[in-house]
Symmetry: C2
Amino acid sequence: MPKLDICFSPELLPLYDLRGQVAVIVDILRASSTIVTALGEGVTHVFPVATLEECAEYGQRHGCLTAAERDGIQADGVDLGNSPFGFLDAARPVRGRSLTISTTNGTTALRRSLTAKAVVVGAFLNLEAVADFARQQGRDVVVVCAGWKGQFCLEDTVFGGALAERLAPDFDVRSSDATLAALHLWQQGKTDLSAYLLQSAHVRRLNSLEASEDFEFCLRIDAYADILPIWRDDRLITLLP
Amino acid sequence: MPKLDICFSPELLPLYDLRGQVAVIVDILRASSTIVTALGEGVTHVFPVATLEECAEYGQRHGCLTAAERDGIQADGVDLGNSPFGFLDAARPVRGRSLTISTTNGTTALRRSLTAKAVVVGAFLNLEAVADFARQQGRDVVVVCAGWKGQFCLEDTVFGGALAERLAPDFDVRSSDATLAALHLWQQGKTDLSAYLLQSAHVRRLNSLEASEDFEFCLRIDAYADILPIWRDDRLITLLP
């Protein structure tokens, strides 16, 4: 039976051997939710980058939409902020465009996970797509929480617990204490996920930036249940169902 | 109001600035529980060391009792294993002796925390002693979980949650997601701590070594409620109440 493990911070990745495994990169607020939304709304592929400079460079080189924020607001000189709603604006259709998005925590988590056999992006929005993929692969899975500047984040962890619950019939979710803890936290919070996560430091930080609409959107479980962002060569594309 | 934060692994310590803070080193199974028991039974001071070689060297140089285990059993050439019961054996009184103990995870956590203003050792056995000390100091506190080879450990985390509950009236225990998660796990597990922690990978590992008596002993909350091991120069001593 394959195992599901959870790595609470990219700083702990050296302790995990990802070779032959599936890595699920999670940054619920908001990079992974925004990437799933973008691909769900017809963006063809995504280049996640760490810095604003790379973002501008990719934008010019590949002619793609650019998305970035600094201190919670859209950065200067880019097309979009990091809000999923940027990809839901009928006035600026994104279908058929490519995208580069600057996300510090998410990009770090992703780049450090590239030794894995497969690297996918997970969010509550595409929980079932991730679970499906894991079942099909039948390999060990490690959920890599992007965290907040390397620190433990409640919302990424609770996502790991939600995935563990879905995979429990087919995966060993009891051999890692991190997975057990995430499962407990998810089971405690799932009946009112929004209220539960409102305690989180990161959520309060985000809400103080008047991004509470984003927060509620990011918790819509399976809103894009067949969108699976997967790493190919140098970009995230989506596997069509 | 001072803050209580929890560091889930010594590998994450570079993210914390311990200067001016109180560091509480926790390795419930079994190093911190054993050290509290040793000092509670009259051992004068403890040198925690990482390797068997250091253990032997300290034993010779300081004439102290030596304690170490490898693969769950007492190592060759030392006086005691890592079980707290080694210090409760009337046939071999320990009062007035000094001790050196080899503990890999615990020693790593302790050595990496020495920039803190005060470094103390916490266990369920001396929970109230730790809480008292924290209240007296009125400084920010970081619980440093020794973990298991750098990985997240349920029992150390749950101890952090128990401490957070006791300190909640006087400390900010809601500004760190790690503390929030630990508090939730403790509140979920506390009514039957033994059953709750029996799920933990480390506990199952320990119990398979027929150390289940040790496990139950390590969960005896406040059995040594006035024993506070604190780092002074090169050793742990106990502050008398």
